[in-house]
Symmetry: C2
Subunit: 171 residues, 2 copies
């Protein structure tokens, strides 16, 4: 399939319907249990074994993951974690901007630990593949538009949709 070791690599791709498990985290550093606890406390939430496990699994696992996938992964490690807890925690983390929700088309919501460096997504509507990209020119022009209307930008959502190379050839 394809290699992906870091999000700094321009070639990193994510395949959605049949997720490739060789994706690694955006974050090279490993998190100690204390790191995990601190992150949870910063959200004004209590530290529980479930939350530690969920956050750890999220950090170590694939970049774009659904709540369901994360639940199944966590289940294998500790079957005492219910999916309601996974959903609840993910939602809480999204509110605290610790994770970012990705709603691509009508596919189930995917989550990623909010990356330090901003990037946008381009999705293949045929196979669900996601390509991440950064483009300073686009960002610059967005700022120009904002200035033109007197807005002070806080964030943005840019999602490109199209057909990837291999799907173009298939049909």
């Amino acid at each position: 399939m394809f290699e992906h070791t870091s999000r700094h690599n321009n070639n990193d791709e994510t395949v959605l319907p049949i997720p490739s498990n060789n994706e690694t985290s955006y974050f090279d550093e490993s998190w100690t249990e204390d790191d995990l606890k601190q992150i949870i406390r910063k959200m004004n939430l209590k530290v529980t074994p479930q939350r530690i496990l969920i956050l750890q699994t999220l950090h170590e696992g694939r970049v774009h993951i659904t709540a369901q996938e994360l639940y199944e992964k966590v289940q294998k490690i500790n079957s005492d974690v219910g999916f309601a807890t996974v959903y609840r925690f993910l939602k809480g983390m999204a509110e605290s901007r610790v994770v970012t929700e990705l709603r691509m088309g009508s596919m189930p919501t995917r989550y990623e630990l909010t990356p330090k460096k901003h990037h946008d997504h381009m999705t293949c509507t045929a196979c669900g593949k996601i390509v991440e990209f950064q483009n300073k020119n686009i960002e610059d022009h967005q700022e120009k538009v904002a200035k033109q209307y007197g807005f002070k930008l806080t964030h943005h959502v840019l999602e490109l949709y199209g057909i990837c190379t291999s799907c173009q050839m298939k049909k």
Copy 2:
């Protein structure tokens, strides 16, 4: 949460997530029955009274409408139209790009007749005001990114979020 504080209806601008009902169509021209039929035929769909009614109601009604709202509106005119038909037809029209799906946050999908001149949205996170804008430079750079990864773009979603002038002055 933003969901509960963004419903200020400033003026005649679009306000989310519960848009004002005095919104008018993008399209000034009225469509004759023949116009409607032609549009449907162009989608390779058969002309039926239901589809004519749905399309007509969509054209005459508010800009951003949910499938449910459209169904209820159509029901009042002809109760022989089922909501499955409304959903199916909207989905078909979305596929043919006759309408555009708008997924704002986690609210139900809203539909708009695809405007001839493409535009994107810039939303004030304080008051919910929406500004529509066009920027060819951004579009061009999007194409460049797509080309770079071998994608053939079909569409995109660009939403800018920030604070508008008046909200900046308020504090």
